[in-house]
Amino acid sequence: MNDNEIVALLADKATREAAFSSIIKQYSQPLYWHIRRMVLSHDDANDLLQNTFLKAWSNIDKFRGESQISTWIHRIAVNETLTFLGKNKGEIVSIDTPEGEIANRLESDTYFCGDRADALFNEAISRLPEKQRLVFTMKYFREMKYEEISQILDTSVGALKASYHLAVKKIEKYLEEQD
């Protein structure tokens, strides 16, 4: 089902639930992985994914199809994630968090099967400023186009490129220091 078909079905109350179910099936995986790489924990990612779809459903009347469904649902997920990270700033990672602690936490996580290098790589990402972390996650893991990221984050392509470049440099530096 393409965007136009889904939008048409969303407009009709009789077919709205079926259309929304299609959105969930289509976007739950990419949104989950995006959120998971931002918050690291499966439980937090699951909660945020549910909140994303609940918020989307409660605002479904406001969605007129002016933006793509992908952009709209990603924006909600990004807002939910940033709100969560803002609320739990000190708990997940802060400047006082000792180096290697996040990697240790990851290695003891039931839903993490990576090695030490993987854990340190994800620690390096989680130590980035939130906006850089978002841009890096979208570009590096999702391989999204800058234009697409620009629409979701409402930031210029130039600023996104600079942000991604900075993020890569910081991650490489952190990994070198941990070596």
């Binding site: 179910s21 969930i24 739950s28 609940l54 993490f112 990576g114 090695d115 290098a117 590096y140």
Partner: protein, 127 residues
Amino acid sequence: MQDSKSNKRKGKIMNIEDFKKKEPFTIPENYFEQFADNMMNMLPKEQVKEQKKHRTIALPRIARYISYAAMLIMMFAIGYTLYNTNKTTQNITAEEHYEGEYIDEILNNYPIDDYTFYCYLTGNDIN
């Protein structure tokens, strides 16, 4: 083999592109398969905003006759009550009227004039 692979990912020779090759995060079994159904069950059901239309229920013929009879009985009862209320009021007024007439008659027939009444009130002897 595992160690040499791990070592390759350390230090300056480690390229961050290498981390794309393997997904270190895992999820519970059948997570995505169940997610959509669970999510749909979690959605609050839309409230029916349209108010229920008032429908006129067609009564059966016998019920209509009963309702007419009930209306007639009620009208008769109201009329009877009003009639009795008026009658009682009229009786009271008649009694009041009767008492007034009786007093007037006594006053008219009683041999007393204003002077006599004055003397009576002041205690002076008429004569």
